[in-house]
Symmetry: C2
Subunit: 703 residues, 2 copies
């Protein structure tokens, strides 16, 4: 850092000096660093690719093939047909078997499988999600909930797409509340079969990819009932259609029809009326029924059993976190490329119009989203490692699995909402052009819309995070009284806490916030940012825990009301926890930056992310005495300064994402705008030089 | 108000008592008012319909006809054909002539025309906007920019749709910067013709409704050049296609193709190469060219002339403000109806699941949007009156027109962004169901997306507002020094300021913010809310003006940079101004409430809106010493209490919007969910009563 200590002047110029890559009109530096750093785009690109770079690059290569890409404007039926054909191409290209057992031709590479899957979003989100239904849900359920005989019997045909299948978990009446699904599988010891029923309309399976047309089988989740005891949700392998595509006896369904996006996937409903499947088609890894109807399970607690079973399916959340972030990357690549070429309105000149990205507002709209995208990207890499460690068995204790679940529940909501916000802001920042389908932004946003409510509704997931944070907290203070809560002092070191992903804490000292000087300097310190972000999570959780303390003495209804009164705050605390995870990942990633210049720019970007979080929650910091009004004012002022520093590097920072024209496929980001601007400027320059430009009436009157 | 003074308890129950309409499970009141007010839905509905109720109701009646409604899933070509057919139905039903001269069969009813137009959004936003292109832009340009001979010659065929037309203003290279368009119309005295050219690719007209297929003529905006002087932007009537639908010589175009929404409209591009039109086809109300090429205008200043011409087209912004708010109303009608029926997760009971809307988070997500929708609706009625006064000539001084422009530039951005936010939150609040096209939310949101950047990009419009506020401010202090700025004391009374729509001010006294008691009580006072909201606008503008003061001594480039450094803050100040306009309109509307009970509920809703604004900007109030941390904390706590008060009335409040099933057309808001829930509950109740429900494993173990 070069300029830090002085107060931010109110008249900060719009842009600091340009690198060689910045547009020629960028104003000269006023208070810029002595040496402007350069971003090594290629090296930063390699860092962003992460440890499963090969799988990502292979998937991108496939996504560049026109036959794998979304064709806009198809009817729902045609889009579905196209995507089903693309799934076959994935099989032919060996792109779908990475996670499956080596004995069946897979490579047991969990991290690589997810990385490759995520990148398919650039081809067509429908293709991506439909492949996720087939191999990541339907196939993965057989793999993770079934046992050896199921693997041998069913996986080969699933892997080859010979048997397209549905993952029949969600019901019309129970979305995120899987434990309450109403479908039953009742064991009949006489025939040694399970009888599957959806006893009322709300129990119908709904929103299932593959169910409307393609699926010939399904993994059906149902309450397992034997000897008149309900053992909770279990999964069953159930054939649903015959070779002609007609439903088997007792099975029916409906087409969910057109959706707000992802129309290449045939979502539909299924209902079951006395459908019988052999006892052995219970996917019996976590619970089995003997011939006589006796139930056994390696996990005694029904609650833990349920969460263990669901936990094997966490990869959906992992991959959505990653692919949502790719969606944001593509959106920013389009909007920032355009903003760096497009000119609109004259300001500092009579003849030259300003480049959009030189406007402060335009920087304010897009660059914080860029910072968040980097944070989400680095956090995802940490998350993917955690996932791979658990699923490869490298580190798969109960605590590891719980940490993974918590991380999934914290990060997936943040990144999926971020993707929608980013694609929308990108669309608006491109004006009318952004609305044209040829420029991709609306299409991507429509397809990613459902990301925020499927694989666990974001608000429901954040409540799971909050409950985990409260549990961590109450464990710490199990035997403490209210006074102990008030004396709550943080103990864990940041690094340790991070990899545990539970309640994040750092050493915190009581500071004098009344001091006036060097507010910006202080805020720039990573330790300060960490302290502010961590302190907020801790304090919110401690405050909520304090308010919830009377619950243990209340009846169920009153306790529920008390809990409900804190619901909004709980979700906000969980979000703060997720933001902290992202900030920590970004900060850790700085150490891997390829060179000093790149590191400098990334540090500004990390600061923009951190300051952005603090600005968003500024009222909280003020009300809780963590920031003085003076220091709080320095936050927004310093964000303005960071914007001008990052602006010359914005195009480099999106280029480093590695999405080229074939992957981005937006006309306005192809260089067409730069050509148009050059042509227009040449036209006027020529006529000005020749003296043939008509005189403006205004100037004429002055003469 | 009944309960006001006591501090908000931290354990506020989730819901207060229910009205007859609220679901039976709503918990009993804990600290509810002694008498729960009732909303008179029908009377409130009449209030919301406003002064052009008849036109609105007629338009809704037409919108209920299936042939006028959007058919989902059509190809772009089929949707375009359908909408063009619907335009003919509008003509047949006499729905499009209200704004035109009585001499030509119109009724010169400007307010009624806009009100009726707005309501068409419920039928199909494409139909609405395409009718807006034909009669509100193309036709209105001939009406307002042309003179008697143009009216007689062109309007009848425009009104009857015999001549479908494009409004050719926007260019690929110049979106919101209309003054800089590059199309030229050069007068040739020899032939007494204008020669129209789009000299380079960026000068092509773009995003024009009707241009891709249907338009046979266009009003083309171009720089008028005569005797080698450029007199700025003027409009010309230009035939573009022959009877076969082929372009006339010198004219070409492209189809903009598929868009993110509004695909019933054939947007396209047009280019002109030496296209000649008779001198008399200049729409010459504000500028004319004599046979010899001499230019004359009733408005001497080219700048004022330009803004006067553009000002005649303000109705686009008026109608978008109104129809965006209708979009939000329909979205909330769907989401709140569903939230009042849908159950998910048990909390306070072992058997009964909670209704979604009883969850605090769900209330927090939707009810503030409901409050804002009411504010936007009441503000729109004020705005529509202002528009009607100006266009009917009742009050059309220069100041009136400027006030109307400022109001349009302030309200259109707020309501269009609000519509998108609301439709998105509504979609998410309905989970997977919200994503299905049959439930309307995604379809509406996609169609309304472009609202935020067309008819003036929202960010550009807000800058116009800010400039007006700065001008008002600097007029007040034209001769004052910096000391006077610091001593700035507000002088205008609220009522007076409101109707002027310039800088809003109220008498403000210096208060002691250190007092501890009755924070909520104090905040509930309308005078307090007004003072806080008004003070923020004033202070922001005064602060920005102070920072911009050196600009007058700077060169053009440096001044532009200084201005740019304040751009973000300027836009925030303009937004604050618009929010204040909405708050004032809501507060004024309380006086028209049909009865005391309705007024009580509306007052809570207005408080929720006001508190929501203060909470959103809480950091600003804290940093600027307007709220003590203690009072600031009361804001969020009181919002929580307001939510529980308003919750039992939520369904009444959306029913009052008056959009019935035929206008809403969302399956999940049709009562289907209530039926499903009743069926599911009956199923379990019956089996529980009969003792045939299998025992949960968990309970079994306890035995």
């Amino acid at each position: 850092m070069v300029d830090t200590a002085e107060r931010v002047p109110s008249a900060t110029p719009a842009s600091t000096s340009a690198t060689g890559k910045a547009p020629a009109t960028t104003p000269a530096p006023a208070t810029a660093p002595a040496v402007t750093p350069r971003v090594d785009v290629e090296a930063l690109g390699r860092q962003l690719l992460g440890d499963w770079a090969e799988a990502r690059l292979a998937s991108r290569e496939l996504s560049r093939r026109p036959e794998m890409q979304k064709e806009e404007g198809l009817s729902v039926a045609d889009h579905r047909r196209r995507v089903f054909g693309q799934l076959k191409l994935l099989v032919e290209n060996g792109q779908v078997h990475r996670a499956f057992p080596k004995s069946l031709g897979g490579s047991e590479d969990n991290g690589g499988n997810i990385a490759a899957f995520e990148e398919l979003v650039a081809a067509d989100p429908s293709l991506q999600i439909k492949s996720g239904v087939q191999w990541g849900l339907f196939g993965a359920a057989v793999l993770h909930l079934g046992t050896e005989p199921h693997h041998e019997k069913y996986l080969p045909a699933i892997m080859s797409l010979e048997v397209p299948g549905a993952f029949a978990m969600t019901e019309t009446g129970h979305g995120s509340d899987v434990a309450s699904i109403a479908t039953t599988a009742t064991y009949d010891p006489e025939t040694q079969e399970f009888v599957i029923d959806t006893p009322f309309r709300g129990a119908w399976k709904d929103y299932l990819g593959n169910a409307a047309v393609d699926a010939t089988a399904a993994v059906v989740f149902a309450q397992l009932i034997t000897k008149n005891v309900n053992h909770g949700v279990h999964a069953f392998y159930v054939p649903i259609r015959d070779a002609n595509g007609d439903f088997l006896p007792g099975i029916g369904g409906e087409d969910d029809g057109q959706k707000g996006g992802l129309n290449g996937i045939d979502n539909g409903r299924l209902h079951f009326d006395g459908v019988r499947v052999p006892r052995t088609d219970l996917l019996n890894k976590y619970g089995d029924v003997a011939e006589d109807g006796t139930y056994t399970s390696p996990i005694q607690s029904p609650g833990r059993r349920f969460f263990t079973m669901l936990g094997t399916l966490v990869q959906g959340r992992v991959s959505l976190d990653g692919s949502a972030t790719i969606g944001a990357k593509i959106g920013l690549k389009i909007a920032l490329t355009y903003a760096d070429q497009r000119r609109q309105f004259t300001a500092g000149s009579d003849t030259d119009e300003e480049v959009l990205l030189d406007y402060q507002r335009h920087q304010r709209r897009l660059l914080p989203l860029l910072a968040t995208t980097y944070a989400a990207s680095f956090a995802h890499e940490v998350f993917l490692h955690k996932f791979d460690d658990v699923f490869s068995g490298t580190a798969d204790t109960d605590t590891d699995r719980q940490d993974l679940e918590t991380m999934a529940a914290a990060l997936k909501p943040l990144s999926t909402w971020h993707a929608l916000d980013t694609l929308q802001e990108a669309r608006e920042a491109c004006g009318g052009s952004g609305f044209l389908t040829e420029n991709r932004l609306t299409s991507l946003r429509q397809d990613l819309d459902i990301w925020v409510t499927f694989e666990g509704d974001n608000n429901v997931l954040l409540q799971l995070v909050a409950k985990r944070l409260l549990t961590d907290y109450s464990r710490k203070f199990a035997k403490a009284d209210a006074g102990a809560l008030a004396r709550y002092v943080v103990t864990q070191a940041a690094g340790k806490a991070y990899h545990g992903s539970g309640l994040r804490t750092v050493a915190q000292t009581v500071r004098d916030f009344g001091s006036t000087a060097r507010s910006v300097n202080w805020l720039q310190e990573p330790a300060t940012q960490r302290e502010l972000l961590t302190g907020r999570v801790e304090t919110m959780i401690a405050q909520i825990a304090g308010r919830l303390r009377p619950a243990s003495k209340l009846g169920k209804k009153a306790a529920a009301e008390l809990f409900n009164s804190q619901q909004n705050e709980l979700i906000e605390a969980a979000r703060a926890h997720g933001e902290l995870l992202q900030w920590e990942a970004f900060t850790d990633a700085l150490e891997q930056a390829p060179d000093a210049g790149t590191k400098q720019v990334l540090t500004w970007l990390r600061d923009l992310f951190g300051f952005g979080l603090i600005e968003k929650h500024l009222a909280w910091y003020l009300m809780n005495g963590r920031l003085s009004p003076q220091r709080a004012q320095a936050v927004s002022a310093y964000i303005d300064r960071l914007l001008t520093r990052i602006r010359p590097h914005a195009v480099d920072l999106v280029d480093a994402f590695g999405y080229d024209d074939q992957l981005v496929r937006a006309k306005i980001a192809s260089g067409a705008e730069a050509e148009r601007q050059a042509e227009a400027r040449a036209y006027y320059a020529e006529r000005r030089a020749a003296g043939t430009l008509p005189t403006p009436e205004k100037s004429q009157k002055k003469r």
